[in-house]
């Protein structure tokens, strides 16, 4: 395969998954800038390792697998990163938040309280828009377990958000 051909081939496979990946990354990290960095890194890694892809149909699993690994690596590193700097913290300007953003932020906060598998399943299903079958492929588990995760995740999320959501909509 030619270099240009490879690029075209990759982009063809990637385009339908772009928004899903972006949503997934943003909702997992809760920060749009970091999410964009993660997406670009995922894309680069996926492009480099494209030769390892055996089936076109499993590209999304391949892509999300890379993204998941990168997220894990990022989270592992986060534990050991730097000391808290009060000066820097004071200089950070809070983003102008609308009521909509507040609600989304609340959602993310609630999602963070869920177990990682449930959180991931919910994000992939609700925000990224993947089907249960696809999520089962990404998470490497059965459809029934994904269904159970989604149900339990929703229940927990409802419990967490019940007083806050009502306040937000009032």
């Amino acid at each position: 395969m030619n270099h240009k051909q490879k690029q075209q081939y990759f982009l063809r496979l990637y385009e339908p998954n772009h928004s899903k990946l972006l949503r997934y990354c943003e909702s997992i990290l809760g920060d749009p800038v970091n999410a964009q960095d993660l997406v670009s890194e995922t894309v680069l890694v996926a492009y480099e390792q494209l030769d390892k892809l055996k089936k076109e149909a499993s590209f999304n699993y391949f892509l999300f697998g890379i993204a998941r690994n990168l997220i894990r690596r990022l989270q592992r590193r986060k534990k050991f990163w730097g000391l808290f700097n009060t000066e820097q913290a004071e200089n950070i300007v809070a983003p102008t938040s609308t009521a909509l953003n507040d609600d989304v932020q609340l959602l993310y906060q609630a999602l963070d309280q869920l177990p990682p598998a449930q959180k991931e399943a919910l994000i992939l299903f609700e925000i990224s828009g993947y089907s249960i079958k696809e999520i089962a492929g990404i998470q490497n588990s059965s459809i029934s377990s994904i269904k159970a995760r989604l149900a339990r995740g929703r229940q927990k999320l409802g419990k967490i958000l019940s007083p806050k959501t009502t306040l937000a909509y009032e």
Binding site: R23, S40, V43, Y47, L100, D103, E126, I127
Partner: protein
């Protein structure tokens, strides 16, 4: 609830839609350069190395299938030397080389352990060969670790003659600085020991310290009892085991303690060696000075003999005086130096000094040396008297009476006064030396006591 959640998720989806356009990703991918030269090089290196390995493998395989290459023999036209020509007729030995075939038999594992105990004859064995006293040189021991040499002694006491055996054991242990005190507490009807109590004491070090009052109490009947004690090369007890059917007591030095004690012992021995070396050096110096003094005396004696032989002349007196062939000061200095460097026996010192030096232990380094010094002093005194007499005799001659009398009178009076004074000086010097010795001995004793306490 579900509606609220769905709404929230929808909001989240909407908020993200225009964050990162796809064009950015496209740019990112298009910006990717073709595989770098390094990756190409890597592929080349990998491929060439694989090819190389393969070719070597094939060559080896090919060679193994072929017949082995014969050893090429080339005749060189060496000019035969004279020695070779002479030995031309000697038979040349030819060796037929055979093809070696692998037998696949594993090589034997050599066991270099030598388990031959070195028997050590002990006093008990000489007196009574029936005693089961075995001594062997062991090279390995449980906690003492490898490479530590020690001698192991075993004694088995049987109930029939336990009293005698214990006596033997006591005497044998005493030879190695271990004192055992065993009391038989009870007897049974057949006069067999049922219970006894013992105590151990050592002069030598055990685990870096003296084993004072180590007690053992064995009760109950026993058929036989075994005492095992291991003594290291430095004659220090390292291991002691008492065992019978119903009793077992083991005390032993562990590695760390051995190491620490050995380190301490090494330090002490080093200090001792240094001190010994110093004293030896001092002795050597003193002996050298004594030899010098003896040489001086010999010279003086020679001069005396010459004087007696040739008769007294004015010139000879002058030569005698001016050139200082007999240098009294030098002789006396040498003797004094020699005396300073040795320790004195109290018997040699006068009574007054003895009184002051009561309750003192002065070490005599060399008795012979002391005696030599006494002889030397006597010789010196005799010589002085001889010389004085000689000089006086010569002065009595009428020709040189006037001039010589001046010299001799002065000389004789000087020497007499000097001898008295010098003897006094010597006595005081000896007194001072003795005091110093006393002080140093006290200090040494104090240090030794402190060391013992610290231990």
């Amino acid at each position: 609830m579900n509606k609220d959640l769905n709404h929230l998720f929808e909001q989240a989806r909407k908020s993200m839609e225009s964050e990162m356009p796809l064009e950015e990703v496209q740019k990112l991918i298009h910006g990717q350069a073709s595989p770098s030269l390094w990756t190409n090089q890597k592929i080349w290196i990998m491929s060439t190395s694989i090819i190389g390995i393969l070719t070597i493998g094939i060559l080896c395989w090919f060679n193994s299938n072929n017949t082995p290459t014969a050893i090429a023999t080339t005749e060189t036209s060496n000019e035969s030397s004279l020695l070779v020509q002479q030995n031309k007729n000697t038979i040349q030995h030819s060796f037929a080389l055979q093809e070696a075939t692998a037998d696949h038999i594993p090589l034997p594992i050599l066991n270099l352990e030598t388990k031959t105990p070195i028997p050590v004859t002990l006093a008990a064995l000489e007196t009574n060969p029936e005693a089961n006293f075995i001594a062997k040189k062991a090279t390995k021991l449980d906690s003492l670790g490898p490479k530590k040499n020690f001698t192991e002694y075993k004694l088995e006491i049987k109930k029939e003659n336990s009293e005698q055996e214990i006596k033997k054991l006591k005497s044998e242990l005493a030879n190695y600085g271990i004192h055992m005190d065993v009391k038989i507490l009870t007897y049974d009807t057949n006069n067999k020991i049922k219970r006894f109590k013992g105590k151990f004491k050592t002069d030598s070090l055990f685990c870096g310290s003296t084993m004072n009052d180590y007690e053992f109490d064995i009760s109950g009947a026993f058929k036989s009892m075994e005492f095992i004690f291991r003594v290291a090369d430095d004659k220090n007890l390292k291991y002691l085991k008492i065992q019978s059917e119903n009793f077992e007591e083991t005390i032993e030095c562990y590695d760390d303690e051995v190491i620490s004690s050995s380190q301490e012992a090494r330090k002490i021995s080093r200090l001792m060696q240094e001190e010994m070396a110093n004293t030896q050096r001092e002795m050597a110096n003193a002996q050298q000075q004594m030899a010098n003094a003896q040489q001086e005396i010999a010279k003086a004696q020679e001069e005396m003999a010459l004087l007696r032989k040739e008769g007294y002349t004015k010139d000879k007196i002058k030569r005698f005086e001016v050139h200082g062939l007999v240098n009294w000061d030098k002789i006396e200095d040498d003797i004094e130096k020699a005396m300073e460097n040795i320790e004195i026996e109290l018997d040699d010192v006068n009574e007054d000094l003895m009184k002051t030096l009561d309750n003192l232990e002065v070490i005599i380094l060399d008795k012979n040396f002391k005696e030599d010094m006494k002889v030397l002093q006597k010789d010196l005194a005799k010589m002085r008297l001889d010389i004085e007499r000689e000089v006086i005799d010569q002065i009595k001659e009428p020709r040189l009476k006037e001039k010589a009398s001046k010299i001799t009178i002065h000389r004789s009076s000087d020497t007499r006064e000097r001898t008295v004074e010098e003897l006094k000086e010597e006595a005081t010097a000896m007194e001072e030396a003795a005091k110093e010795l006393r002080r140093s001995a006290k200090e040494k004793r104090k240090r030794a006591k402190q060391k013992a306490k610290n231990k």
